[in-house]
Amino acid sequence: MFTTNEVLPEDLVIQILLWLPVVSLLRFKCICKSWCALINGQNFINKHLLHNQTTSNKNRNAGFLLIQRQKSSNDHVFSKLQYESLEILSTQAVPSQYFGIPNHAAINIVSSINGLVCLDLNMITYVESLISLRGGNDLEEQDNS
């Protein structure tokens, strides 16, 4: 209904982007080089983090993180659960090929903060399954290495 649809100046675009969840920002990094540089910049990252902690946005992103194995593929997946209803909002595979997480290992979430997740790999379990595969008995040696 309005006559003009002018494109917004950069400082206003930044203020809009601060309201977006990380998944949208990741997608929008390939909009153009300047958006990519902006979203990757330490200044924007700090602002976005602060914004999420101090505004009404807080509840939008609150929730629980769950790690489980998919029955079909036996792969580890992260699921994000809604704060009150515990409804699963999104599920994402743990990118094991990048972090070298062996498929046999048991993984526990120790803690998470600001999008970083600390995982506990139960290496004894891993070693045990490895040994059982090889039929060996060098558990002590493996555990200490």
Partner: protein, 177 residues
């Protein structure tokens, strides 16, 4: 800043300020509403300081960057302000607020509202409409957002392809354009 719309005795604070938009329409608004726009407030106070004979009701403040259709919506938003700014404390409330934010027009309208709120230095309004626009583009495709903001993609096709593969999960579940 005082709470305007809940005033039990409007006649006591019924000083009006007249705002003149870019298309030469005059809006007579309560002083307390107009004072939410810091640009107007500044102008108004400067006028007072200058001790111009015209005071209060007879002051006309020109807003050459704001169209009447945009100003009407900003004023209507101002009048609802107290409820709108309450913090949502659960998912349902957040959904209700999202719907409320959707009522202020098409995404194109939101761009105009954001520009106007920015020009008027109307902080609460700017936040509200920024959030409304973020709601709108949150699940949109890269192509949609480029078109919306008038941006031309400048990555080499193979660079973009590589990125999309690496972050494939961020490109899932995107809305239709």
């Amino acid at each position: 800043m005082s709470n305007t719309s809940e005033n039990p005795n409007p006649s006591s604070s019924s000083a009006k300020i007249t705002l003149k938009t870019s298309d030469n329409e005059l809006f007579e608004v309560e002083e307390a509403v107009a004072m939410k726009f810091c640009t107007v407030k500044q102008y108004f106070e400067d006028e007072k300081d200058n001790d111009v004979a015209a005071r209060g009701s007879s002051t006309v403040i020109p807003l050459p960057n704001v169209h009447s259709a945009v100003l009407a919506r900003l004023i209507s938003y101002c009048k609802k302000l107290p409820q709108s700014n309450a913090v949502a404390d659960n998912h349902e409330e957040e959904e209700t607020k999202k719907k409320e934010r959707k009522q202020y027009g098409t995404p194109g309208d939101l761009v105009d509202l954001i520009s106007a709120a920015n020009y008027l230095d109307f902080k609460e309004g700017l936040e509200f409409f920024n959030q409304a626009l973020a709601d709108h583009i949150q699940n949109k495709s890269v192509e949609y957002v480029r078109k919306f903001f008038g941006i031309k993609g400048d990555f080499e096709p193979h660079e973009e392809e590589k990125y999309r593969e690496e972050y494939a999960w961020a490109f899932e579940g995107v809305d239709e354009d």
